[in-house]
């Protein structure tokens, strides 16, 4: 087996600043208020992912999922510890990230693909397929500013899945988008998983995690609370209990609620 993602003792803190101007800072100091405060979004996280594993990253809001994903994606660097990955990374940290509102859909496809590491020839070769998947029709030559949120996330997702990557990250990609598109995305992500790529899937939906993943990592206030089987992970989060009613629906759609 080949290690795909190695996270070792990673800590990431953020500084919160309460006062922006010199005057505010001076006033705060005189009154004895705090000027800044830091909190640990991730606290001593360690795990290893093998190539081809499908990980469901779960946890409550604010548990550090997005920060962890940004570290793996390379947008952020850890304060302590190390994050190592093997191969090219693609995926969406947020829907429609990096689109420029004044550029048309067509221009944004080329720019976004270049940022994700695709060459001009590669983009041209896959262009039709991307357009086909995004299904934005005649809006392709309209500035993205005029797109609905569903359209821009469709376009973003379409580009991301066309990057030939070894690791695929998906963060709430399916939060927007209609039922047929969600189905299409889930099918495509399953294909990606079956191709032997490492899948890192952030979701609150136990149904889709059960369907997509073979291992679950649960974050709790910046620490790894659970790392193991899918059903145990969902049980650990107590997502299985109250969610019984909407489970079939959720299973069907893989909705990110």
């Amino acid at each position: 087996m080949t290690e795909s993602i190695v996270v070792e003792n990673v800590t990431k803190s953020f500084t919160m600043r309460y006062h922006r101007t010199l005057k505010q800072m001076a006033v705060a100091r005189v009154r004895g208020h705090e000027i800044s405060n830091s909190f640990k979004a991730l606290d001593d996280i360690s795990f290893t992912v093998q190539q081809g594993e499908a990980i469901g990253l779960m946890g409550l809001n604010g548990s550090g999922k997005s920060t962890l994903l940004k570290l793996i994606n390379g947008v952020m660097r850890p304060d302590e510890g190390s994050v190592l990955t093997r191969g090219r990374i693609a995926g969406l940290i947020a829907t429609g990230a990096g689109f420029h509102p004044q550029l048309t859909g067509r221009e944004n496809i080329y720019l976004n693909a270049a940022i994700l590491g695709m060459s001009e020839a590669e983009t041209r070769r896959k262009y039709d397929s991307i357009v086909d998947f995004a299904d934005v029709g005649r809006f392709l030559d309209t500035p993205v500013a005029a797109y609905s949120s569903g359209m821009s996330s469709r376009l973003g997702f379409a580009i991301a899945i066309h990057v030939e990557s070894h690791i695929f990250l998906a963060d709430e990609v399916l939060a927007v988008g209609d039922r047929p598109f969600k189905r299409k995305c889930m099918a495509r992500m399953q294909e990606i998983r079956d191709e032997g790529r490492t899948l890192f899937y952030v979701s609150h939906a136990p149904g889709s995690v059960r369907k997509m993943c073979d291992r679950v990592i649960v974050l709790e206030q910046g620490r790894v609370g659970f790392d193991g089987g899918v059903d145990e992970g969902i049980k650990f989060l107590k997502y299985d209990a109250g969610a019984e009613d909407d489970e079939p629906n959720d299973d069907d759609l893989g909705a990110d609620i």
Partner: protein
């Protein structure tokens, strides 16, 4: 829908490495295709929803030139001692505007692209570098117009002059890039830098020998004092003098009518060397500050 080609290289062939983009100026130029798209995007953005489009980069310098010529030559009559004052003025306008555009757009570059910087892994130096290239893109046509104008008047080619011209443009490019890199990062933390740079660019037209020639500085109260050296330590002032050494001296028949500081070429070369050092320092600073970008934007 076509499926992906399985042309992906075997993961075993890849090393385990940090996913963060290597960054650095070298990486920016290695990913030239990305740089090209970012430059194109900035140009498209500048001229979006404008009828005249790219022609604006000719109209703007023309209007600037006419306004200065009107105020300085026709009203103040400050041009009487300066032969071919129009060329003298235009040399200064080109260099000052090149620098102002580089540092102005460069300083704002990371902040205005914060959506991308926050979400995507790419070498962030690409934005300040693109600002320098956009400024150069606007400057080159002006240099060509200047060359044509001097050619019509009668341009005496000399090797020192040509070298001075090349040195001038290189100097401002390197110095501008160093400033753009440093201030783009600093501006993420304190938007005050944006205003500081706005102030500096506002008076730059008066701090270079453009609406007056260098002999006025030599004759002035600061002439021969340490303050003259301070004045000349501004790379933009030296850049203007070097470009004038190329084009203005090329059209003025009598060399005694043109005065330059001693060792102008040597000054230029030293400043270029200093600017290269500044560029390295700016890059190092950028690398340090960059890790905090996503959370501070």
């Amino acid at each position: 829908m076509t499926t992906l080609e399985s042309a992906r290289p075997d993961p075993e062939e890849w090393e385990l490495a940090s996913p963060a983009p290597k960054g650095g100026l070298a990486e920016v130029f290695r990913r030239r295709y990305l740089l090209k798209l970012v430059v194109k995007r900035q140009l498209a953005q500048q001229y979006s929803a404008s009828v005249l489009g790219f022609i604006w980069s000719y109209i703007q310098p023309l209007i600037r030139f006419l306004v200065y010529y009107f105020a300085v030559a026709m009203v103040l009559k400050a041009h009487v001692d300066t032969p071919h004052f129009a060329i003298h003025l235009f040399c200064g306008l080109i260099m000052v505007h090149f620098f102002n555009q580089t540092i102005g757009a460069g300083t704002r570059s990371i902040w205005s692209n914060r959506r991308l910087v926050k979400k995507m892994a790419l070498p962030r130096e690409v934005f300040p570098v693109a600002s320098v290239m956009v400024a150069a893109f606007h400057t080159l046509p002006q240099v060509i117009i200047l060359a044509i104008a001097t050619g019509i008047i009668g341009f005496a080619v000399d090797l020192t002059g040509i070298l001075a011209g090349v040195l001038a443009l290189t100097l401002i490019t390197v110095f501008g890039a160093a400033c753009a890199l440093f201030f783009s990062a600093a501006n993420v933390f304190f938007r005050d830098f944006q205003n500081l740079i706005g102030t500096i660019t506002g008076f730059m037209h008066f701090m270079v020998p453009m609406i007056y020639s260098y002999d006025r500085i030599a004759d002035s109260a600061i002439g021969g004092t340490v303050w003259e050296e301070v004045y000349l330590a501004n790379p933009v002032a030296t850049g203007v003098l070097l470009l004038q050494r190329c084009f203005w001296s090329g059209v003025v028949d009598d060399p005694s009518a043109t005065l330059y500081p001693d060792h102008l070429m040597l000054r230029g070369v030293i400043m270029l060397a200093v600017s290269l050092v500044l560029l390295v320092l700016a890059q190092l600073t950028f690398r340090r500050l960059e890790t905090k970008f996503p959370e501070r934007l």
